[in-house]
Each structure stands twice: as structure tokens, then as C-alpha cells.
Point group: C2
Chain length 706, copies 2
């Protein structure tokens, strides 16, 4: 089997993905935008989103230059590693930029497609437009990340210095992770500040319905969907894929050859009669499997498009769950060609099935089932009991989801025998093998949501809103599945990165002629590190929650000011000034994302340099335990409150209609849940990945200490 | 130096403590109770408290018998270890019983003392009565725990089987920990269900002021103070002291002799010219230091009593902070007599000073300072922002407090060189050296609180309530300091127990001729265990929070029923039926404490037996990281909400008085905070200790697996 060819295939699929993305982009751009009001509103949203991105990218440019200089000045890293860091970051920004541009073109065109039902095809046309809008992001994210990683692999795999490939991969991953952290936290603060601010001002202060065109905060709310749920999510998933692949490759690079030999079936020889080198296969495999995943996902996107006339919920759900399973089946047949043992298929299947199961469990805990109903019930006795019950549900979900993830890790570990950690990395790769289509469906949601907002603000016929609402509702349930893949793979990836870190430390020590470091878990340094690591997720969670609160407060004041000072606004005869709101949210998001970013990037560097690698290992373990559970808790509690409110609004509790005391209590829970689920929860999940990736990068430098 | 004599001294101080407790008990009992109404109300509270204890003890008896049988049937434990388990449990129950009896005698007598100001000494007399009521608990807790441990030590220190002393100590500690878990969780559910239930019903449903005698929930609320804050807290602190001492002794027992030699100054010989055995000293030292702590604390109690005419806040605060420092000074002078190096003094001082600092930080985050004011401010924009800000403050406090604890551990580790883990245990012992007086002041709080309730319900002169309110306010701030000692020492103790566990595993393996187990933190088993361990605190937190909510709901319904069906109750001409409320709270508390208890005790057993000692080590680390941070978060967020509400009630926000929307928003935060700070937070803190102690007990049994 020609391994070289197989490892270049992912890049080829990446190119294909980008070509398809370009075609879809052009198709969307060519669609009609609708009437002038729609154009104007869509223009506001697009401008606001792009203005945010432009200003965010300036901050990220400064950050990137600083880190580049730091890396260039560090002897064992140097300018080249710095350049790969920049490349990893740049490709993330590029995917985010193209994807969000497409989303902000697709939203208004989705609304317009939904408004022309002359042939009875409005729903299918609207679905297709929203889906294509999301697919641009999905294809760019998966395509660019694989192309970047293949480039690093091809350039350095035969390097004379055995550590070069690892270093460049780690640098690339640090670029990807940093951007993800900032984009997710910045976007998350923006979207929730605008959401909470517009809600409080619109509903409580001024008493106008949601998406009312007079409320200047509504545009900012729609911008938030794009910068948070499209651009932020895109950077997040780009990073997930990169980190999972790099973690597994890194384990392959640093595991001792005699141990790595277990990856292969005994006595296997390649077609040309040469013995196969286990390390070569171990390092290439994550790329190859992800390439297959991309190819399958592309097919999946076209299948979903072809099924546009069927029930969207079923189609999109299957589109997310099936591709990983197909990847598993293909893997089963190709592994023998490389002489790789089938434990890899088991680990991959564990990841693929586990990811889907976590998605379904997430839906159970945050959809209209028992747990959410209990939260809604609790609202009958007030906001206090509503909040308590929502937190309890979030905590219960931690129990079930994290045990399931542990189960996947156990299966992968068991299936791979002596190469358990490599297996856990493969499980994460398996969970993410549907990245392109998962991201497509994830981005489809906010496009539909935006379309609904535009329809409402443009005063289109209620039948339009009905269609967009249905599409949006589907997006809400598929979002839960997407979240399952994201959180499950993040946890497994961090476990694998953790192992890669300590392997790297000891690999470096052995190369330097030192004895291996004993990373026994009962060393005081490790336990002290554990306590230090445990606090970091709390810093990020606290900082992001207060940021949302502060920014929302400023937005409420500005909306009040506009209603008080703009003559005719209250009566609907004058225009609001959405740009002022967009500015406030942008400024707040960008300034408040700095502290969490510094904690994530500098935290491990300081711990590693000052307290040494053992304490850093402890800190990573502490951050993993707290971060994985805290982010699950926050994401799912937030989802439960959100849907409990919606459940009451839909009449789920007879005698407790919208605007009743019970509903008001549920709204308070939802307000608490907003930053929980869309800012702090995802922020904490990325934090632990950034910490792990940064630790991996600096591992060779601090390895010789103590 | 006669080590034997020194190790018996703690028992002698224990006897002295019990004699003093008996004298104080008799002094309280001889004081006048006041008028008939007071007697009747106090009788209700006493009966309710004792009825709860009686029923709780029945449940605990069943639990104890089951565990005893399990231990008796386990070959390496046996009947004798089971008997020590029972002894550890029984002494805890005994201390709780006597202490709570004294507290329920002292409450009404404190109110009565406050009501006779003919000689201008009412405040001093009331303070003295409340303090003596608390001192009975403080002296019993410290005295009985030390007597029990000395008994184990003296009986087994020269045993032919080198493992016997350790096994019996662990069994004793498991007894102490189990009771603490059940008492804290059961008492916590009771007290918060009654508090929340009575509050919601009294304030919201029926619109009668707090402590109104017509509200049948008020008696239950006062009972709750006794079963939660006196009996529950007593069992908690008893366990803390036992666990800290046992952890340090266990490290001494299982550390390799050549390493342990570093404890001693080179070439030291005892007065009789014999060389000193390091292990003997290492094992005896925690007992000796705790004995000194008890002696100093007894002196402190008498000092505080003598200063009854001075400002109670300053006196009680100093009484908590100074004794540990005095113990450090004494230790500095006696260590050379045993040839022990002064690193022990440094570690001890780190614990003593660190504990006080955590206490002061806790007070900063939960008292009327910046953080609490920010929570109160956030209530202006509604309950949602109030809840978010309270959580943010709680999270920030995790950062500061846990880093401080890590700092103490670092200092102790550094000071003791190769014996870092032993040093961390000593730091925990140092933090708890003032146990008797800390518990005294802790129990003084609810006695004063009860006295205020009795004064209100009996319609005494408002001047009486003024005095009890002042005493109660002092109790609230000293409670923060007590909490600091408790949480700080719990975290350090778990770190030490963790080390004791892995030392025990490898000690057992070496004795059995196996090679040491590699507990490298990057083993898949350990990382999988880490994820499993991380979920356990969330299970306990979720279960306890929902338990409070459910029980409070049932209480509200019963109070409504009484107002609806008892003629004349609303008008104040008929008596309420508090017993029905007490019954509901008791039944709920007892049934809901089962699940968390089983998780804590069976969790480590199942993980250890099924997945082996490495996974169990990982699970303990995961539970430690999550449990320490989660309990701090919940305790301090709860404290911040509570005091934000009180801050508004005291007029801290001009223009936002009591019963304003801002105040109502703050009340919602407080409702969320009630189970946070008094049920789930402390429950999670004990959970990780129970898990560690149980793991230590089963370590020799599972050590030979894998």
C-alpha cells in the first residue's frame, strides 16, 4: 500500500471541499435577496458581523505577532515553528471569515426563499439555502485544517531532526487553539450580551415583542448569532479536529518503537515486500482516517441536499450521525492493507457511536423531555426553585455524559492493549470524522434563526416566519447533537494530549540522556499542580459570566437612551441606531476576552517554567477534571433552562401561560443560562484544550527541569 | 524524652475536656429557662431536634451494622476492624448527641439571660450562656476524637502484625467519615428545607414576618439550626480532625524507613542514649501536636469566657485564630526534644496561618465588602443578573482560596524536603489544632440564632432581640472563619489521604513480594479514573439540591394546609402544629441522604474492585480537583447571595428598600444559595474525604490487583 499517496489524499479531499464551498458560495450569492427592507436589515447584520470580525482580527493579529516573536526567540522553537503557528491561526481565521460571509449572505436569501411559495417548494428552497450557507463553513473548516496538517506532515516527515515534525504540528495546533479560544469567548460574550441586553430592554423595559424592528438591540442579537454561533463555533470545530489529529500523531511520534509495534499485525509486509515501520503508520493514520471522514462528509452533504423535500429533522439528524459510522466501516476494510490491527476500528467505532450517544443524551437533558419538564415545573414555585432545578439537571447530565466518555475511553484503551492512549486519540478522531457535515448543520441553525429575524423585522407574511421557525427548531435539536460531538471529542482529545505531553517530556529526556521523569500521581508537585489547575476553569467561567452581565447592562442603557431621545422611535416612525449597540457589544467582547485568553496561554507556561513539568502535568489533570465537568454542567443546565422557558411558552404547563409568574420565573432561569451555555461553558471546554496544546509545545523546553 | 507519655497526654487532655464539658453542661442546665411560653417553644425545638437525631441514629445504626458485617466478612479486615469502625462512628454520634442536647438547653437560657438587664450585664450573661452551650460540643468533639485515636494507637503500636495499627486507624476514620457524611447531608437537607419552606410559605404565601409564632414552619427552622449547624457541623469537624491525624499517621506508617529518617536531625539520641526510630516519632507526632492543640484550645475557651465583657466580635475572632499560632510556638520548642527537624514547625505554621487567611478571605468574599456589594448591585437589574454575579463571586473565591491552599501545600512540601507529603498532612493537623475552640464558636452561632427566634416567638421585649441579634451577627462572621479552617483542612487532608492511599498500595505490594505499582498520571486507567471521579461530586450536589427543593415544596403545602384548616390560626388565637412540619423535614432528610451516602462509600469500593487501584487513584484525584473547587464555589456563592440580601435589607442600596423589586431579586439569589452553602457545598467537601478514607481502608485488599 502506498502510504504516501494515502496521506496526501486528505489534502486532495480538502481541495475538493474548498472547490465545492466556492461553488455553493457563488450559488448563494446569485440568489435574490428580496425587498429593500430585507436588503437593508440584512445589510446591517452583515456589516455588524464583518465589523466585529475585522476588529477581532486586529486584536488577534497583535496576539499572534506577540506569540510569534516569543516563539521565534525561543531556541528550540524558532522562526519556522512561529510561522506554522501563524499558519494554524490564519487558516482558522480564513475559514471563519469565508464561512461567516456565506452565512450572512444566506440568511436573507433563506427568508426570501421561504416567502415565495408559488410552486409549493418554499420550505425545500429555504432549507437548501440555509444548508448551503452552513456548508460553506463546514467545508472550509474541515478542508483547510486537513490541508494545513498534511502540509506540515509532508514537509517534515522525513526531516533529519526527529523532533521537527512534532514541533511544527504542535505549533500549528497552538495557532488553531488560540484563535478558537478568542473567537469562542469573544463571540460568546458578544452574542449573549446582545441577546440578554435586547431581551431585558425589549421585554422588560419597553414591552415590545421579540424581533421588533423598533428595538435597536435586535440587529445586534442577529449579529451575535453570526459571530458566536457561526464564526465562534467554526473556529472551535476547526481546533477540535486539529487538536485530535495532532494529539494522536504526537502519541505515535513519541511512543517507544517496541510498544508501537503492537499497532501492526505480526509479520505484515507491504506490497513491495518491505517491512512496515509502525511509527510511520501510527503517525499517518489519524490524517488518513480524517481524510476518509471528509470524503464521506462531502457525500453526506450532497445526500442531505438531495433529500431536501423530506422531513428536515430526520434528514439532518441522520446526516450528522451516519457519516462517522460509514467511516468506521471503510476503516475496517482498509486497515489490513496497512497491516494495522483491528483494535483501531473498535476505538474508532467507540468514538463514532459514543459521540452520537452523547448527542442524544444531550438532547434528552436539554430537549422537551423529563428533565426539562422538571425545570419548568419548578418554575411554578418561583425563580429560585427554577434555577436550583436547572442546575441539578445540568449536574445529572455531567454524571451520565462524562461516564459515557469514560466508557468510550475504556473501550478504546481495552481494544488497543498496550497502545491504549493511542486508541483514545483514535476515538476522538472517530468522533470528529463527520466534522464537515456536523459543522454544516451547526451553522445551518443560526442562518435559519437569522432568516426568521429578518422576516419578522421586514414585516413579511406570518407564513414565512412559520417556515423559518420550523427550520430553526430543527437547528436547535441538531445543535444538541453537534454539542455532544464537540464536548465528547474535546474531553477525549485532552486525555490524549495529556498523554502526548508526558510522552514528549520523557522522550526529550531520553534523547538528552536523562532518565525518565517519574510522573507518579502521588508526588506532592503533581497534587499541588492539580489544585492549581482546578482553579483555572473557574477563572475563565467567572470572567466570561461577568463580562456578559456588564456588556448586557450597557446595552440596556443604550437602548433606553435611544427610546428616550429619538423622536418617533417608540411610535415606529423613526429608525433605531443598531450600530451603537453593535459597537458596545463588540468593544465589550474584545476587551473581556483578553483575560481568559492570557490565563489559558500563559497559565501552563508559567506553571511549567516555575514549578516544572510534574506540576504542569498535575495542573493539566486538574483542569481536565474540572473543565470537562464544569463545561458540560454549564452547557446542559443552560440548555435546560432555555427549553424549560420555551416549553412553558408553548403551553406545556396548562394554566401557566406566557407572561404568567411561572413564565417570568423561567425567563430568569434562561437569563442565567444564556452565558452558561453559549459563553462560559464552551469557553471552559476550549480552555483545557489550549492549555494542553500549549503544554505540548513547551514540553521539550521544560522537560529537562527537575 | 518519653514518647509514650507524650502520646498519652492527648487522651488525658481529652478526659479533661470531657470533665469541663460536663461541668459546663450542668451550669447551663441549672440556669433559669424563663417564662412558660419560652419553655414551651424551647421544648418544641428540643423535642424536634432530639426526635430527628433519634430517627437519624436509627438509619445510621442500620448502615453501621451493614458495614460492620461487610468488614467482619472481609478476611484482611475482620471483626476487630469492624469494631473500631463502630467505635469511630459511635464517638461521633455521642459527641453530636451531647453537644446538641447542650445547645438546645442553652438557646432558651441565652434568651432568658438577655432579658434580665437589671444589672446591665444581660449581654455578657447571654454571651456566656451561648458560648458555654457551644463549648460542650467543641470539647466533646475534640476530646472524644483524640481519646479514640490514642486508644487505637496505644493498643496496636507494638502489635506483631505491622499492618494492624494502620488498618484499625483507617477503620476508625471510616466510621468517623461515614457519620459525618450522613449527619452533614441529612442535617443540611433538613435545615435548608425547613428554612426555605418556612420562608417561602411565611413571606410569600401568607405574608407574616420572619419568626412569627403563627407560622408552624418556624419551629422546624429552629430545629434545623440545631440538627444542621450544631450536630451536622460537629460530626463534620470530628471527622476532619480524625482524618487529618489518621492521614498523617498513615503516611508515617508506610513511608520507607530510609526516607522517613529525614524527619530527624542527624545523630539525635534520646535521653536514655538509645537512637530514636523515625517511624515511631512520625506516627506519634500528629497525635502529640493535636493534644497540644486541645490543651491550648481549652485555655482559649476560658480566656474567651473571661473576656465576656469586651467586644464579642474581636474576642471570638481572636479565640479562633490565636490558638493554632500558639501551638506552632510550643511545637518549635518541643520538637528538638524528640530530635525532629524544624521543617515540621514550618509546615504546621503554614497550616495555622493558611487556615486563618482562608477564613479571612472567605469573610471578604461573603461579608459586606466589594464582592457582596457587586451581587447586591446586580439585583437592581433583576434576579437573573443577581444569580449570575453571585456565581461569578463564588468562582473568583475558588481561585483565591484554592491557590492559597496550594501555597500552603507548597510551603509544607518545601519545608519537609523528601517528606513533603508528610508535611502536607502536618499542615492539615496545624490548621485543625484549634478544633475545640473553633467548634465552640461555630456552635455558639446557632445557639444565639435560636435564642433570637425564641425571643421573637415568645413576644419578649425588642431589647432582648437586639442583644441576641448582635450575638448572632458575630456568629455569622466567625462562621466564615470556621468554614475557612474546615475547607482548607479538608483539601489538605484529602491530598495527604491520597498519598497515604498510594503508599499503602505499594507498601502492601512490597510486603507481598510484588513490585511497586506504577501510578504514572498518564496511564489510561488513571485518566479514565479521573473522569469517573470528577462526576461523583456532581451526583452528590445534584441529589442534595433537588432534595432540598422537594422537601421545601412539601413543607410549603403543609403550612398552607394548616392555615387553611386550623380555625383561628391566622388570627393568632389557635396554635400551629409544628410537629407535622418537623416530621416532613425529618423524613425527607433521612430518605434523601441515602443516595449520596451510598455513592460516597460504594463508589471507591466499586471502582477499586472492578477497575483496580490505578483507576481508583485517578478517581480520587478527579474527585479531589472537582470536589475541592465545587464545594468552595457553592459555599461562597451561597454566602455572597445571603449577605447581599442582608446588605439590601440593612439599607445598603439607597432607594432599594426591603420588599422592593431589587430586594425580591436578592431573595431569589438567597433561595438558590441556601442549599448551595449549607447542604451541597459541605456535602461535597465531606464526600471527597469519605472516598479517600474508604479507599485507604480497602487499599491493602485491592493492592494486589493489576
Amino acid at each position: 500500500m502506498n502510504l504516501d499517496l494515502w496521506t496526501k489524499a486528505p489534502a486532495a479531499f480538502g481541495v475538493l471541499a474548498l472547490v465545492i464551498a466556492a461553488a455553493l458560495y457563488m450559488r448563494i450569492a446569485a440568489l435574490p435577496e428580496g425587498n429593500d427592507t430585507m436588503k437593508r436589515i440584512a445589510g446591517y447584520i452583515r456589516e455588524g458581523s464583518m465589523a466585529f470580525l475585522a476588529r477581532e482580527y486586529k486584536v488577534l493579529a497583535v496576539y499572534s505577532v506577540v506569540v510569534f516573536c516569543a516563539m521565534a526567540a525561543t531556541p528550540s522553537l524558532g522562526v519556522i515553528a512561529g510561522a506554522w503557528f501563524l499558519t494554524g491561526a490564519f487558516l482558522s481565521l480564513l475559514a471563519g471569515f469565508i464561512g461567516m460571509k456565506a452565512a450572512t449572505l444566506a440568511n436573507v436569501r433563506t427568508a426570501n426563499a421561504a416567502s415565495d411559495n408559488s410552486k409549493g417548494t418554499a420550505k425545500a428552497a429555504a432549507l437548501l439555502t440555509a444548508l448551503d450557507g452552513g456548508a460553506v463553513m463546514g467545508l472550509c473548516v474541515a478542508g483547510l485544517s486537513l490541508m494545513g496538517l498534511v502540509a506540515v506532515y509532508v514537509l517534515y516527515k522525513d526531516s533529519a531532526d526527529p523532533k521537527q515534525l512534532g514541533t511544527m504540528l504542535h505549533a500549528f495546533a497552538v495557532g488553531a487553539s488560540s484563535i478558537a479560544l478568542f473567537a469562542r469567548i469573544g463571540g460568546g460574550i458578544y452574542t449573549k450580551a446582545a441577546d440578554v441586553g435586547a431581551d431585558i430592554a425589549g421585554k422588560v423595559v419597553e414591552n415590545i415583542p421579540e424581533d421588533d424592528p423598533r428595538n435597536p438591540g435586535v440587529i445586534a442579537d442577529n449579529v451575535g448569532d453570526n459571530v458566536g454561533d457561526v464564526a465562534g463555533m467554526g473556529a472551535d470545530i476547526y481546533e477540535s479536529l486539529v487538536a485530535a489529529i495532532v494529539a494522536t500523531m504526537a502519541i505515535g511520534l513519541t511512543t517507544k518503537p517496541e510498544q508501537l509495534q503492537h499497532l501492526l499485525t505480526d509479520g505484515f509486509k507491504a506490497a513491495d515486500g518491505q517491512p512496515v515501520v509502525a511509527k510511520t503508520v501510527a503517525v499517518a493514520l489519524p490524517l488518513i482516517l480524517s481524510g476518509i471522514g471528509l470524503a464521506v462528509s462531502i457525500a453526506g452533504i450532497f445526500m442531505a441536499r438531495a433529500l431536501k423535500n423530506f422531513a428536515p429533522a430526520a434528514v439532518l439528524r441522520s446526516a450528522m450521525v451516519l457519516p462517522p459510522l460509514l467511516v468506521v466501516a471503510i476503516t475496517y476494510f482498509i486497515l489490513p492493507m496497512f497491516g494495522v490491527q483491528q483494535g483501531v476500528t473498535v476505538a474508532l467505532a467507540g468514538g463514532a457511536i459514543g459521540g452520537a450517544m452523547i448527542g442524544l443524551l444531550t438532547e434528552y437533558y436539554t430537549g422537551h423531555y423529563g428533565p426539562v419538564k422538571s425545570v419548568a415545573e419548578a418554575a411554578k414555585t418561583g425563580a429560585g426553585t427554577n434555577v436550583i432545578q436547572g442546575m441539578a439537571v445540568g449536574m445529572q447530565s455531567v454524571f451520565v455524559c462524562l461516564l459515557l466518555i469514560a466508557g468510550v475511553a475504556m473501550l478504546a484503551n481495552f481494544a488497543m492493549g498496550d497502545l491504549g492512549m493511542y486508541g483514545i486519540g483514535i476515538a476522538a478522531v472517530g468522533m470528529l470524522s463527520g466534522t464537515a457535515i456536523v459543522m454544516t448543520v451547526d451553522a445551518y441553525g443560526p442562518v435559519s434563526d437569522n432568516a426568521g429575524g429578518i422576516a419578522e423585522m421586514s414585516g413579511l407574511d406570518p407564513s414565512v416566519r412559520e417556515i423559518t421557525d420550523e427550520l430553526d427548531a430543527v437547528g436547535n435539536t441538531t445543535a444538541a447533537i453537534g454539542k455532544g460531538f464537540a464536548i465528547g471529542s474535546a474531553t477525549l482529545t485532552v486525555v490524549a494530549l495529556f498523554s502526548a505531553f508526558s510522552l514528549e517530556v520523557n522522550h526529550t529526556r531520553l534523547l538528552a540522556g536523562l532518565k525518565e521523569m517519574e510522573l507518579a500521581i502521588d508526588r506532592p508537585e503533581i497534587l499541588i499542580g492539580l489544585l492549581i489547575g482546578a482553579v483555572l476553569p473557574f477563572i475563565v467561567a467567572a470572567a466570561t459570566m461577568t463580562a456578559v452581565g456588564k456588556a448586557a447592562g450597557a446595552i440596556v442603557l443604550e437602548i433606553k437612551r435611544q427610546f428616550d431621545t429619538i423622536p418617533g422611535l417608540r411610535e415606529g416612525t423613526a429608525e433605531p441606531q443598531p450600530k451603537a449597540i453593535v459597537d458596545i457589544a463588540t468593544a465589550a467582547a474584545l476587551s473581556e476576552m483578553i483575560l481568559p485568553g492570557i490565563v489559558a496561554v500563559l497559565g501552563p507556561v508559567l506553571i511549567g517554567y516555575i514549578l516544572g513539568p510534574a506540576a504542569l502535568a498535575g495542573a493539566l489533570a486538574g483542569a481536565l477534571a474540572v473543565g470537562a465537568s464544569l463545561s458540560l454542567f454549564m452547557a446542559n443546565a443552560g440548555g435546560a433552562w432555555d427549553n424549560a422557558k420555551k416549553y412553558i411558552e408553548k403551553g406545556g404547563l396548562p394554566g401557566h401561560p406566557k407572561r404568567s409568574d411561572t413564565h417570568k420565573a423561567a425567563v430568569i432561569g434562561d437569563t442565567v443560562g444564556d452565558p452558561f451555555k453559549d459563553t462560559s461553558g464552551p469557553g471552559v471546554a476550549i480552555l483545557i484544550k489550549v492549555m494542553s496544546v500549549v503544554s505540548l509545545l513547551i514540553a521539550p523546553i521544560i522537560a529537562l527541569k527537575g
